[in-house]
């Protein structure tokens, strides 16, 4: 008997503007000790399935058909209280949004201990010990101290690992992992995958892994399901599906996986669209709104951004008595510069300070030491809004966590229109609408998305909203913190191509943070590698990939998952 059996599941989100059918009849079986991968288009309904299995569909979503069985027992119609015994203990769930999944007011330790003690008969001390063990298992250094920190003191990848630890700490029989490794560098990713594999083999746990990362699928799953628009279009042994895909969608998906071995100029696109082959519109940037050059371009020719000896120290433990306080140096004396029109990549260990650097450049954090020059002006010393304003619009940032960077009470339209209206980048109301809709088209969301609120979107869709917003200012310098981590390869290609076009034709400069080494290789001109708050190496991309100098870089490249399937398109 299968451990988990999903039969004919249908889910819809009714709303006044029409009902979204997110899942349209899905059958999926997972056996103990088996890892099933789910891949598919962003917004295909993958996360929704996961939510439905543990009975936590968000209102107004509801299951309109089908059954979910655990050990042959139907669970989708169980009362709330009974489900509470299954959740966590029987089925562990890792949500896609690790950053908003942690309660901001409790320390990581408190949340772990509570979960452990809810399900396992342990004393406070034992539970704490277990919590620390779990943190170590997911690769968090200095777990002893980290336990007592609050989620906001963790980096994106670290929070993701905490979420994983939370889901696994009660030893569930079944694990549903929704994009568990999007924010993790390859070495940590490998560690997490090992952990999952170990659970699976040793304790006979069943696992569903939802991911966009074909590398992960290839590496760990036994079987894989390919989803497209709410349906499973292909299901089979991993090697079979990846090696000899049958459904045209799967085929085009495989074709779009970025290559890690050679550098191409553009990312290949998925050309399948609902049974027909879609013609991709190519935008002519020069005549497009995005391309309308902004009046002022500076005559300076030096690097656009120059960072000198940047240091950021956080207070990691706060205390009334100053000498009891503990500090943590997240970024340690970092210097680099970014040339005009260049895409500057940053890779590195999770928690190594990449986002912190990005935020300092964006002006969101005040560095403890060091100076940032933008266009030869020391922006980090500017204080008043008046002085800062000219730079604000030129520097834009795509946040690592798209969901929390969207105002939950604003419609997507207003989110994207805000910078346009604010900087008067459009002549009329009609034009604003037109630009917004156009931007939405370019990130493949469609016009209808404009009238929805952020919570009505899937993880990848939210990320695209935040990309559209960043583009709406027509920035000169764009900071991308994991811009495509939640995107399927097809949309990833679309967006990265767009960014590349902007760079090539308009000279847009970018700071590009990513864990995805193939993407880095395709996108970036130069790359910096960070570890423990320091830059280990800066080099031309090709040089770095072909002849890494630093041992850490070498290890990273080594661990890069490779797809050893022949891709037949």
């Amino acid at each position: 008997m299968a451990l988990l059996n999903i039969k004919g599941m249908r889910i819809e989100f009714p709303s006044r503007r029409g009902t979204v059918e997110a899942v349209k009849g899905i059958d999926l079986e997972v056996n103990g000790g088996e890892i099933v991968g789910v891949v598919g288009e962003s917004g295909a309904g993958k996360s929704t399935i996961g939510n439905a299995v543990i009975g936590l569909l968000e209102a107004p979503g509801r299951m309109t058909g089908g059954e979910v069985e655990l050990h042959g027992e139907r669970i989708d119609n169980k009362p709330f209280q009974a489900m509470q015994k299954i959740r966590g203990r029987k089925i562990g769930m890792i949500f896609q949004d690790p950053l908003t999944s942690l309660n901001p007011l409790f320390t990581v330790g408190q949340q772990l201990v509570e979960t452990v003690r809810t399900h396992l008969d342990m004393s406070e001390d034992q539970a704490r010990k277990r919590a620390i063990e779990m943190l170590e298992e997911v690769g968090i250094d200095d777990a002893e101290n980290r336990v007592d920190q609050y989620p906001h003191q963790f980096s994106g990848g670290m929070r993701q690992r905490v979420v994983i630890a939370l889901a696994l700490c009660a030893e569930p029989e079944m694990v549903i992992a929704d994009e568990p490794t999007t924010a993790l560098d390859v070495s940590i990713q490998a560690q997490i995958l090992d952990l999952i594999r170990k659970l699976c083999k040793e304790r006979n746990v069943g696992v569903i892994i939802i991911t966009h990362d074909m590398g992960v699928i290839a590496e760990i799953t036994d079987r894989v399901a390919v989803m497209y628009r709410g349906k499973i279009v292909e299901l089979g042994e991993t090697a079979q599906v990846l090696g000899r895909p049958e459904h045209p969608y799967t085929k085009s998906l495989m074709a779009a996986v970025p290559r890690s071995d050679v550098k191409l100029d553009r990312f290949p696109r998925v050309s399948y669209s609902d049974g027909e082959v879609k013609q991709h519109q190519h935008i002519d940037i020069q005549s497009h709104w995005l391309g309308k050059a902004q009046a002022k371009t500076s005559e300076n020719t030096g690097p656009l951004v120059r960072c000198e000896n940047l240091t950021m120290r956080f207070t990691s433990r706060y205390s009334v008595i100053p000498s009891w306080r503990k500090y943590f140096t997240a970024v340690d004396n970092v210097s680099f510069d970014i040339k005009r029109g260049e895409i500057f990549g940053v890779v590195g260990e999770s928690g190594s300070g990449k986002s912190t650097v990005a935020r300092m450049i964006a002006g969101l954090y005040t560095p403890s030491a060091g100076t940032i020059y933008f266009d030869d002006t020391a922006v980090s010393t500017l204080k008043t809004d008046k002085e800062l304003d000219p730079f604000r619009r030129q520097i834009q940032m795509i946040f690592q966590d798209p969901y929390s960077s969207l105002n939950p009470r604003m419609r997507v339209f207003d989110v994207i229109a805000e910078p346009i209206r604010h900087h008067r980048l459009a002549e009329s109301k009609e034009q604003v609408t037109q630009i917004v809709e156009d931007l939405l088209e370019h990130v493949e969301l469609g016009r209808a998305a404009a009238w929805k609120y952020p919570h009505e979107f899937s993880g990848g869709q939210r990320q695209r909203i935040s990309i559209a917003r960043a583009l709406a200012t027509r920035p000169r310098f764009l900071i991308c913190d994991e811009p495509t981590s939640a995107l399927d390869v097809s949309i990833q290609a679309q967006i990265l191509n767009l960014l590349k076009d902007l760079q090539q034709e308009l000279g847009l400069t970018m700071l590009f943070i990513s864990h995805d080494l193939p993407v880095i290789r395709q996108m970036c001109d130069r790359v910096a590698v960070m570890q423990n708050g320091k830059i280990m190496e800066i080099a031309e991309t090709e040089t770095l990939f072909t002849a890494p100098q630093n041992p850490y870089t070498q290890r990273l490249l080594q661990l890069m998952p490779t797809m050893n399937f022949d891709v037949a398109v």
Binding site: L364, R392, R409, M410
Partner: protein
């Protein structure tokens, strides 16, 4: 909400018809239609407002016309009781005034004072609270200390102060018209701190959230960040305080009037009616206080129901 916001950059091309169409099509309006309780509550509120505005047309008696008062008619019970008089639907008070008509007229003063003073304290409190919470530092300290000074003075004293100043500034002839203004100002000024501190507290939490950072990055001016991003997200508690504050304001008005800084006793307000009537509660003439009390309770209930709905409707996740 945000959709209705205008920007200086937009040309004022919106036609009235468009606005109406848009409003009728908005999510808020639809969630309104879906909530029968809210519809009833807003109809009740509306009826009460209209009845008080058009009191001279609706009311069977004119409580301002003292000449019609007859002590002989005092303390008649409502018409359905044995000694009731059909002329006085809800009976008469200790001075022979009809109980029903002053409720209509009285709601005028009460609604006017209640709503405007709540709006005043809300606007003031929200503005100061947002600035204090968002800017922090010295500005915050200054605003909060002013708040503490304000807190130390009960409404009664504020009213006396404003009353005194107004009387000093203006010729005696205008004093009568001032009473409402004095009431609104003193109640409004006494209550802004609640809003300010609540807004500030929530703003402290919100201001470091990423969506606020994102807005700042776009280059949105602090004023608009506060208005469009922070404010909608701290609105929940504010609506609670505001809707409950309405009842408080109406009742405070009564106390102030009794203390001689409000409307004169010949000019009824809901609060004064309840106040005066409560003396007669146990002498058997319960109707003098119960009916105005019920009117106030219904109003407060209706406004709170609308407020509850509005708060939910403003949160897209709750619709």
């Amino acid at each position: 909400m945000s959709g209705a916001m205008t920007n200086k950059g937009d040309k004022p091309v919106a036609r009235f018809g468009d606005g109406v169409k848009r409003a009728l099509d908005s999510d808020i309006f639809h969630s309104f239609l879906k909530s029968p309780v809210t519809i009833v509550a807003s109809i009740v509120t509306l009826v009460m407002i209209l009845a008080s505005v058009f009191a001279p047309l609706v009311a069977p008696h004119d409580p301002f016309d003292v000449a019609t008062l007859n002590l002989l008619d005092s303390e008649l019970p409502p018409f359905w009781e044995a000694d009731g008089d059909a002329r006085y639907l809800l009976g008469t008070d200790n001075l022979g005034r009809d109980v029903f008509s002053p409720i209509l007229y009285g709601s005028r003063v009460s609604l006017l004072v209640g709503f405007t003073s709540v709006v005043l304290s809300m606007v003031l409190g929200i503005a100061l609270g947002l600035v204090a919470g968002y800017k922090g530092g010295l500005i915050d300290a200054f605003i909060m200390r002013v708040a503490e000074i304000q807190l130390s003075f009960p409404t009664i004293l504020v009213a006396l102060l404003i009353n005194g100043i107004m009387r000093g500034l203006l010729p005696p002839a205008q004093h009568a018209e001032l009473t409402i203004l004095v009431l609104v100002l003193s109640i409004g000024l006494s209550n802004w701190v609640q809003f300010a501190r609540t807004v500030r507290a929530s703003t402290l939490v919100e201001r470091n959230k990423e969506y606020v950072l994102a807005a700042r990055l776009i280059g949105v001016k602090p004023f608009f960040v506060m208005l469009r991003h922070v404010l909608p997200n701290v609105m929940g508690p504010i609506l609670v305080i505001a809707t409950l504050g309405l009842a408080g304001a109406v009742l405070t008005e009564a106390t102030l009037s009794f203390l001689g800084v409000g409307v004169p006793p010949t000019e009824p307000s809901l609060g004064t009616l309840i106040n005066v009537g409560s003396d007669y509660l146990f002498s058997g003439a319960w109707w003098i206080t119960i009916f105005p009390g019920a009117a106030l309770a219904i109003l407060v209930l209706a406004v709170n129901l609308v407020g509850d709905w509005l708060r939910d409707a403003l949160n897209p996740k709750l619709r």
